[in-house]
Every structure is written in C-alpha cells, then in structure tokens.
Symmetry: C2
Subunit: 398 residues, 2 copies
C-alpha cells in the first residue's frame, strides 16, 4: 500500500521524542518540578524583542497582500540582500543577494542541498561523529550513502587521520556542524585549516571537488568570546546551511537559508540545482512573513547569556560531583561520559531519578549522553541533587 | 558537480514566471495600467480580517515560546482537532485530529503524499488534463511515472473512457483537482460517482487499491452556490491534499494539510508513511504561528464575491466579443479557446496588446490559454478593449 521505507521511518519515533513523551507522563505522576528533562533541543528563551516588534510592524503597517504573498522561489530579494550585507560586515566576506536561497529551516536547507549535489547512487556523504542523527536519513533520501568518521573522544574536534582514510573517489560531500550538536564543541581554526587542506588535496586527487556542507544553526550561540571561523573563507567549495531557529528562538517557524558562494566551482550551476531541488520537493518559497522578519532582525539573537549561565551551572555542578565531560563552547548541549560503557543503560538508570538524557549511540558516539541545557536554570539547579544520587548509585556498585 | 536533473529544473524557469517578469518589464515602458497581466495565480485579495485579528492576538496574548516553538511533526493537536470539527460539521464526515498531518502548503502536501505511497520505480500516477504542470515533477521526484489522461474538451470534466483505458496494474494513484486549475471546472457529483465506481472496479481487478489524491486548494472558491463533493464520502482510498493559500489568501505562508481518512485501507500505515516522507524531506513541522492562525480561522475565506464579479466581468466581456470558453464554476481561472491552433503563437500575438496569457500546452491542453482573474477588477475592464483588438487582428487574417 505504501513505501515500506517511509512507513518504517514514520512509525519509528525518534528516541528523543519518546523520552519527551515519557517526561510528560512522569510529570503527571511526580509533578513537573521533579522531572529533569534534558532531552529536547527546543529553545527555552523567547525571541528577542526585535522579532515581536518586526512582526507587529509588518502586520500593522505593510500591505497584507505583500506580507503574506508568494515571494520568488529564491526568497525576497531585499531580505537576501540584508543577510548578505550582515555577513559581509561581520565576516569580511563578499556575498550578494544571489548567493542566497531562503528555506524552511535547517532540515530543508540540508535536504535541498543534498538533493541538489548528489549525482548518482554511489555518491558518498561523510559525516563526523558525533552528528545529528537525521543527517543519515536526509543523505539517504537524496540517494547518497553515508560514511561515518568516528569521534575524536579527546576534544570532539575532527579525527583527521580517520577522515583522510575514509575519503574516496566517490566522496561527494562532507557535512560538519560547529558549534556541534551534541558535543557543544566548536571547531578551532586549526581544525578547519587542516580539514580544508585535506579536502583540497583529495578534491585534486579525485578530479572533482568535495563539497563541504556547513550546517550551522548554532553559529551565534557561543561562549567566552569564541570565534566560529566562517567556512567559505577557508574552502571555496563550501555550502552553508543556516537556520534562524536557535539564534532567534523561532524553531517552529521554519526559516533559514542556503548560501552558495561565488568562489565555488560552477557556482551558478550549484545554485540552479538548489532551486531545482527545492522545486521538486515542494518548497515553493520560505514562509513569507518570517522571511521579512529575519530580514529586519538579522544580527539579533535571543539572550545567549542565559544559555551561558545554564552551561556554567550544569558543567560546574557535574564536574564537582565527579562526572567527566568536555566543557561546551557553543550550542546548548553538554556531552557527558556515561558511568558505564552502555549509555542506554546509564540513561535508564537516570530515569530512576527522573533525569532524562539521550544516549549518544544515535549520534554515532556510544558511551556518552547528551544533555540539552536550553531549559529553565532552576531545573538545572534542582537536578544536581538527582545527578549526585545517580553518581552514588554507581559508586555503590563498584 | 551537481545533479543534472536538478540543475535543469532549476535553470528552466517556468513559462508563467517568465511571463510575469516580462510583464514587469513592459510596465516600466508603457505604464503599469496598460499591461494586462493574467499570468499568475497569486490571490489579489487580502486575508479576511479574522486572520489579522488572530495574528495580533496570538502575538500579544500567548507566550512567544509556545507560539513560535516546534509543534509535533503532525502539527498542533488543537489545530488538527479544529479542522476535523469544521469538516465534520460542514460535510457530515467523521474525522478526528489523528487523520490530519499539517504541511507547508499544497505543494508539500502533494510531494509528501506521493513520496509516502509510491512503492517502486514503475508505479504510475495518473493526472487528468488540464492539470497543474508541477504534478509531473512531484510524481517523478517521488519515483513515479506520470500518465496523462487527455482532456474532456466539451465540459472539462473527466474523459472517463480514456481514463479507464489508461489504468493498469501499475496504477498507484490518480490525482484530481477540483475546482480546477486551469479550467475553472468543478467536477460534478456524476463525474465523481463515475470516477469512484471505476477506481473501485480497477482496484479490485488489480488486487491493490488505487489511491485517489484530491488536490483541493480551491475547495471554497466556487460560485453560484455550487457544491464541491467531499471525496472521502465517495471513495474510501482518498487522500486529501489541502492548502489555505487561496481560501485565506496566505500563499506565501505555506500552510495546509494532508488528510488520511480512517476508511482508507491500511489507514494507519499510510499516515505513518506520510510522517516518514515528511521527515526525510526535511519538513520538521508546518510553520507554527500560521498553524495556530488557521486553527482559529477555519471556515473563513477571503471575499469570494470579488472573484465572482471578476469572473462575470471577464467571462461576459470575452463572450460578447466572440471568444469561446466554458464558464468557470470555481477557482479563479478562465480557460479560453485560442483563436488559432497554436496557443503559444496566440499568446505571442496577445503580447502585442500587452495581454499576458499562459498557453495551455504545459497544462496538457493545447489550443487553450489560461487567464488568472485574481486581479484588480478595473484591469479586467480595461483589458477588454485589448481583447477586442486581438479579436479584430485575427478577424482581418481570415
């Protein structure tokens, strides 16, 4: 009756979604304040005031037909120009409006980009563990084959030797995600430089460019004044997949973009293929009101200080107890070493204390668990007692 | 470097889009008021006041995190329940919230639905001419093969004998669109009854159900008190693909739904496959603010009387001159018989008088042209002089 594959994908709920539902059920039994749900990457902060101001102004003062009407498939020209200007000022780049294709958020950016560039069945897409699990589905749905580079467990940068080994003549693209979900790591300039050197060398060997897909919904969410290198400046064949979901706390509104820089080989052809892929997948245009909103709010962010306070509270609290983890530099995830090799079993044990954590296995990194700290700070504070109890439980077992 | 197919699709602009750009260029030369652009199906009316009220109320009085946050992939449960209630009251159906999957508009509804149900390479999808040209791309992108039933030139209903001949064991789905773009026809109860009888018979012969995909963004845009039969009541294996783009004049906001009725064979499996297809294509959820808006405005429409006045003005005007066309019963298109067999040549001749019309060829119906009358009524009035001149031009040639 239906595609068996689509049926399987639609009926197997993601582990994260299962946990979230479990948390709601537990909250009814023990009370919402006694469940410590670190499962979902749903921003806990409202959008900045500029977003609400832009919405009201557009609705009250602009003609409704223009505000809610179709834009071109590429997106509103003024909005794309505003994004180009902002990036040029911030990163000393040379983009113009026609480098941008507005999308319905990061997932759409990735699926459209992959559909555009994958040419044939055996094209390989390399992902770097730990990685967002949907990458695999997106690449496979576009006809590609996913190759996973094992994690650099020390610093959660890129295991460059492994990557070098895994690039073949079939390698079409490498997806990176920095600041990273789930590790919270930000790839350093050294990492990026080494990566780009490798990709240039291998592209030359292959006689066709390897596309670097930079999935960066967390670009602005970084701490301690850290810089996130702008990829197109390091590697010409970079496509940037961006979303405003996290920076502006608009995850449900589905708004982002694909950036195809002029520097890219056959840049015009890549951009046209992006338009073609968006078209066949039914993405007529990105939501028009929110295109205009992000155009006006470009450069604004939600209150990142709150996420930083959460990070410090959780990281310091867990380290004081004795847990091991790399200090997150960006995004709003902390990647904790489980207290036993089986992360799923550790998460089950955590549930005893109503701590909801996501096993790292689906991110390609067994033995770790992901904690989303885009939550209420008070919940983090209360959760530390539960984390202490969990620690004691494992201590007793030794 | 890229998928050749996506590149082709992205670089060949649609004929309609080309015309629209041409119209803008002409407007700069001869003045906006002297260009009669009937090319685009972009609603010329603002959304009903209820939409603006709902937007302002949601933004002012509901928590921003909930308004702009992720909904479940299926869509907000309250919104889906509101849609079910409305349809049940209006059409005496028995839907519930879990029959609905919210989408980013009609194109997304169709691409997701096709991806969900197409099982293998040689699955055939039948479309009835005249038809919306993107159907072909959507079906092919989902892995299907498109079979075109030639038009019923008399009434623009369905050429039932031809359809019967073209259904094979490989037929997976039939897409219909009533009220129809581009003909303006509404399929009568007789047409629907005959269609469903045929589909039931053929499904039985095939040993697997043929899915009827009802693409109905124009459901509410009908004139003269006409009823549009509700398909699930006539044929169990119907999937409804709906959009609020036209009914609420929100084409750029990308909001619609897929309805999988309980009556359908393996209904739960079909619904799960829809969820799976949406997931792999990167449709995380439908835009959250507009989900809530349509939930509140369900049953409302833009001012359809205006479209009716436009229809009457254009139809009566053209008939008075001597043109031939079937009177549109719904949507906002009039399908005019060209004054020569080559519709593209007729459209070129029209340009001489700054009449912008779309040849019917891409809709699978040569010899006709589509006029979109979702335009300013005054423009229609002024255009009639140009249509008279065009008529005279052909008269001279005889």
């Amino acid at each position: 009756m239906v595609s068996e594959k689509m049926y399987q994908l639609g009926s197997n709920r993601s582990a994260i979604r299962e946990l979230f539902e479990y948390g709601k059920m537990r909250a009814e039994i023990v009370g919402k304040e006694n469940v410590y749900d670190f499962s979902l990457g749903n921003p806990a902060l409202p959008p900045p005031q500029a977003v609400e101001d832009a919405l009201i102004d557009l609705l009250k003062n602009e003609p409704a037909i223009a505000v809610h009407g179709y834009t071109s498939a590429q997106g509103d020209a003024g909005v794309r120009a505003a994004i180009a200007n902002y990036l040029n000022q911030t990163y000393q780049t040379n983009f113009h409006k026609d480098n941008f294709y507005m999308t319905c958020g990061a997932a759409a950016s990735l699926t459209i980009c992959l559909r555009a560039i994958i040419e044939k069945e055996d094209d390989e897409v390399i992902v770097i563990a730990p990685f967002f699990p949907e990458y695999r589905l997106f690449a496979e749905a576009a006809g590609g084959k996913v190759i996973i580079v094992p994690p650099d467990m020390q610093h959660f940068q890129i295991h460059m030797e492994k990557l070098a080994e895994m690039i073949t003549a079939r390698t079409k693209a490498v997806i990176i995600n920095s600041p990273n979900n789930p590790s919270g790591a930000v790839y350093s300039v050294e990492t990026i430089t080494a990566l780009c050197k490798l990709l240039n060398k291998k592209s030359k060997e292959n006689g066709r460019p390897i596309v670097l897909i930079s999935d960066e919904p967390y670009r602005e969410i970084v701490y301690d004044g850290l810089d996130v290198p702008y990829l197109t400046k390091y590697y010409a064949n970079t496509v940037v997949c961006y979303s405003f979901s996290k920076s502006l706390s608009l995850p449900g509104e589905r708004i982002g973009y694909i950036l195809v820089p002029d520097e890219m080989e056959e840049s015009g052809k890549v951009y046209a293929a992006v338009c073609g892929a968006g078209r066949v997948m039914g993405y007529v245009c990105a939501p028009s009101l929110f295109q205009k909103v992000v155009g006006r709010c470009i450069g604004q962010t939600s209150d990142i200080e709150t996420y930083k306070r959460n990070r410090d509270l959780l990281y310091d609290g867990l380290r004081t107890i004795g847990y091991r983890c790399v200090k997150p530099q960006g995004a709003f995830y902390l990647f904790l070493k489980a207290l036993e090799p089986d992360a799923a079993a550790f998460c089950e044990m955590g549930k005893k204390y109503d701590l909801l954590m996501v096993p790292g296995d689906s991110f390609g990194c067994p033995g770790y668990v992901r904690l989303s700290y885009c939550v209420d700070g008070e919940m983090i504070r209360r959760s530390l007692t539960a984390f202490q109890k969990l620690w004691n439980e494992y201590l007793k077992m030794k």
